[in-house]
């Protein structure tokens, strides 16, 4: 099959359509990350480096969010890294599902995120699962990075994070990231535990650290509950 034919077959597939629309939707909120990153004190190029190299939205927001709240680089690194642990699980799942040849794994790993995993798992046919992963991963990568640059330049032009309610945008972004994960009683209970822990410890520890304490408490709560209810 020629390259052009392969491309035509891809473009006609349901996985392509889903991947592209997820890419477009994610690209649209790239600017919100760029603007928030710059308003948290990162430079335009640091914001762009995070999108190009870290490339996992939740962790990027966390990194900027911790710094914006006055946290140290160490606290920002910890929060971002813990939040990206789930990508490791996705990698495990994608390897089992897509059976990629070893040479493509380093590239696949970089685009292993919520969106590519979601698009791939939504397909039933193995060929479509691969197409979904690649299409969503690349579409999100390109548009997310473009969006970040635009937003970072915009954020730089705005300057003060309080102007135009950029700090309110950060609150909205975090609850927007959390919301889809609150399905069922357990996640809601865990979210409440984490929120309460944060409120309690904020006055006593440096900025950024409450997030790590909340993460530890939530993990312990899950393990305890797991033991009680196997």
């Amino acid at each position: 099959m020629s390259l052009a034919e392969t491309f035509r077959t891809w473009r006609a597939s349901p996985a392509w359509r889903m991947g592209m629309s997820i890419g477009a939707a994610t690209g649209l909120y790239g600017p919100s990350f760029g603007a928030l990153a710059v308003s948290s004190g990162l430079s335009v190029w640091q914001a762009c480096a995070l999108s190009a190299l870290m490339f996992t939205g939740g962790s990027q927001f966390a990194f900027a969010g911790v710094l914006g709240g006055g946290g140290t680089g160490l606290a920002a690194w910890s929060a971002a890294s813990l939040l990206s642990v789930r990508n490791g699980i996705y990698g495990l799942e994608m390897k089992a599902m897509l059976r990629p040849p070893t040479p493509v794994i380093p590239a696949m790993a970089q685009i292993t995120i919520d969106e590519s995993m979601g698009t791939s798992s939504a397909q039933t046919d193995p060929v479509e699962q691969r197409r979904g992963f690649v299409t969503a991963g690349i579409a999100v990568y390109v548009l997310w990075n473009l969006g970040t640059l635009l937003g970072a330049l915009l954020g730089q032009a705005i300057g003060d994070p309080k102007a135009f309610g950029l700090d309110g945008a950060a609150s909205a972004a975090f609850i927007g990231l959390l919301w889809p994960r609150l399905k069922g009683r357990d996640p809601i209970a865990l979210a409440v535990i984490a929120a309460a822990t944060t409120i309690i410890v904020v006055p006593f520890v440096p900025p950024g650290v409450p997030i790590l304490i909340a993460a530890a408490v939530t993990t312990v709560a899950t393990l305890v509950q797991q033991r009680r209810r196997p």
Binding site: S171, A194, T198, V202, A214
Partner: protein
């Protein structure tokens, strides 16, 4: 360390975690506790980030226009509006709150 160093170290860590997933044995997937812990960690971190970004300034708990932004965002999410609209509404709510004289 400079901020650039933290940025790059954090990026390297994120990539290492992604890559580690492909290197781990498949048997790890069969243990439900791994899945549960990973998703609990994600929920806990995000919930805590909601609180720190809404209610805190440094080590102080404060009530200001950001709480209004959070409330508006929650309603928008409940109405199933897309993420970008939720973020924009949050910004608008905080800006309007300040215009109305809230801190």
């Amino acid at each position: 360390m400079t901020m650039w160093a933290w940025v790059l170290v954090s990026c390297a860590t994120a990539y290492a975690i992604k890559l580690a997933g492909y290197a781990l044995p498949k048997a790890v997937l069969d243990r439900p506790v791994i899945h549960r812990t990973a998703s609990a960690l994600t929920v806990g971190l995000l919930a805590s980030l909601v609180v720190t970004n809404t209610l805190t300034t440094g080590q102080h708990l404060v009530l200001d226009s950001r709480l209004l932004a959070l409330a508006v965002a929650a309603v928008a999410l409940w109405r199933k509006l897309p993420f970008i609209i939720v973020v924009i509404l949050g910004a608008v709510a905080a800006a309007l709150g300040r215009l109305a004289g809230l801190p």
